[in-house]
Amino acid sequence: MAKSEAEILEGLAAIVAEETGLDAAEVQSAKSFTDDLDIDSLSMMTIVTLAEEEFDVRIPDEDVKDLVTVGDAVKYIEGAQS
């Protein structure tokens, strides 16, 4: 069953927290992965790979560069589910 935007944000925040050690509460929609959360490209690819598995979606490598903020990723995953 497709997950809601809030559920995706919660799940993605948990993945980011596990990968980076950040508090999950800091992983908010408006935050930029690189500028605000200080996530490097390898960590970003790790988060994407884990998110693909968690939400059962495919996020092609060429689309990852468009995922600037946490909100971008949430919207992308929401759209990719259906």
Binding site: T20, G21, L42, T49, E52, R58
Partner: protein
């Protein structure tokens, strides 16, 4: 010529999560070898179900992201490095004059094999992007260089069970040649995994004493039947004497020399004559400018294999001659198991402490010494080294492939 001193020690081992607990366990003659708490033996029909497992898991001291980004072999090296670096007083060192040489004999075997499981079970797209930097055998030394900010070079010599000793020998040479003032050197291994255990067992290299794990590693005992796999890391901070003195560092001891040879005899079996091992010890003493009569202690490689132990013992006797009667021999793998790439480094920590504390750690489980053993083996309980004067000791490490490394240390 630049003198090289030891100013910091770190370890995580089957005897303890740091150097003080490991040394205390060794002096008490404890065994760190236990039955594996998993179903591998049953599930995979493995002939060996015990090993020298870490007393403190890295996950208990590292952050969650750190344990996710590093293979267990690198995690252990980082735990030992943090202790050694703090022990050395967290020195301010010009990054261009600071190096790291931390070896693993096997590399990131857990990462490699779990990533292969992922490919088989979930497909190539599920393999995590950090897999390569986790499995590469230079990963521990690279993470150590990041940890301390080393830019003079990060190296990882690989020579199976001699790797850790080779790392220390190379670190000594790196400082003597003027490339660095301070080098964090050591070895690490995290190979208690069904595959390496099965593979070592297939070589008939491992003890199969499943009903008595703590008694399984018994170097020089007549009933020894193979080595016991161990895991962990040992790390030393090596420093030029000038640099150490200028910052008022506490000095544990000195690295006086290294001897390295190769057998060119067989890919896994040692040369029965032990010619390469003997030469490594002789070269190390020459390199150190230490006379045989000044050696008071040897931390032997002595893995508890039927053939290997006595080849080395005859070699030690050959090098030391009649002076061997005055030399205390310790085989600490009897307590820790064999840390493979970590062994030479952990045993260097033991050797430095033995000289500093003037106490040779014991060899346990030697109920009936091999009748051919013509050495003064420290059995059961520690024994004092000479109370006066500067002391010198040898630490031997030999690896599959015919790698022989002997290090000579001295008290300060």
């Amino acid at each position: 010529m630049t003198a090289v001193v030891v100013t910091g020690l770190g370890a995580t081992t089957p005897l303890g999560g740091d150097v003080p607990s490991t040394w205390e366990g060794a002096l008490a003659g404890k065994s760190g070898v236990r039955t594996l708490e998993n179903d591998w033996a049953e599930k995979y029909d493995m002939p060996v179900n015990f090993a020298g497992q870490l007393a403190v898991q890295p996950s208990e001291v590292l952050s969650r992201p750190e344990t996710k980004r590093m293979d267990p072999s690198a995690q252990m090296a980082i735990v030992a490095t943090r202790e050694a670096w703090a022990d050395a007083g967290s020195p301010e060192v010009d990054p261009e004059r600071l190096g790291s040489i931390v070896s693993s004999g096997i590399g990131g075997v857990w990462t490699l094999l779990s990533a292969w499981d992922t490919v088989k079970e979930k497909g190539a797209n599920r393999v995590l992007p950090l897999t390569v930097p986790m499995l590469m055998p230079n990963s521990p030394t690279a993470y150590v260089s990041l940890e301390i900010g080393a830019r003079a070079g990060a190296h990882a010599p690989v020579s199976a069970c001699a790797s850790g000793a080779e790392a220390i020998g190379m670190a000594y040479e790196m400082i003597r040649s003027g490339r660095a003032d301070v080098v964090v050197a050591g070895g690490t291994e995290a190979a208690i995994h069904p595959l390496p255990i099965s593979a070592f067992a297939a070589m008939q290299a491992l003890s199969k004493r499943n009903d008595d794990p703590a008694g399984a590693s018994r170097p020089y005992d007549t009933s020894r039947d193979g080595f016991v796999l161990g895991e962990g890391s040992g790390v030393l901070v090596l420093e030029s004497e000038e640099h150490a003195k200028a910052r008022g560092a506490r000095i544990y001891g000195r690295v006086l020399g290294v001897g390295m040879t190769s057998d060119s005899h067989h890919i896994a079996a040692p040369d029965p004559e032990g010619a390469g091992q003997t030469k490594a010890m002789q070269y190390a003493l020459e390199n150190a400018d230490v006379a045989v009569k000044d050696v008071c202690h040897v931390n032997a490689h002595a893995t508890s294999t039927p053939v290997g132990d006595m080849i080395e013992a005859r070699g030690i006797r050959g090098v030391l001659g009649s002076h061997a009667d005055q030399v205390l021999i310790s085989a600490t793998k009897s307590m820790t198991g064999h840390l493979l790439g970590g062994a030479g480094a952990l045993e260097s920590v033991f050797t430095i402490l033995a000289l500093d504390k003037r106490t040779a750690p014991p060899t346990i489980n030697v109920d009936n010494p091999d009748p051919e053993l013509e050495l003064d083996l420290v059995r059961g309980t520690p024994r004092p080294l000479p109370a006066e004067g500067q002391l010198a000791a040898i630490n031997n490490s030999f690896g599959f492939g015919g790698h022989n490394v002997a290090l000579v240390f001295a008290s300060n």
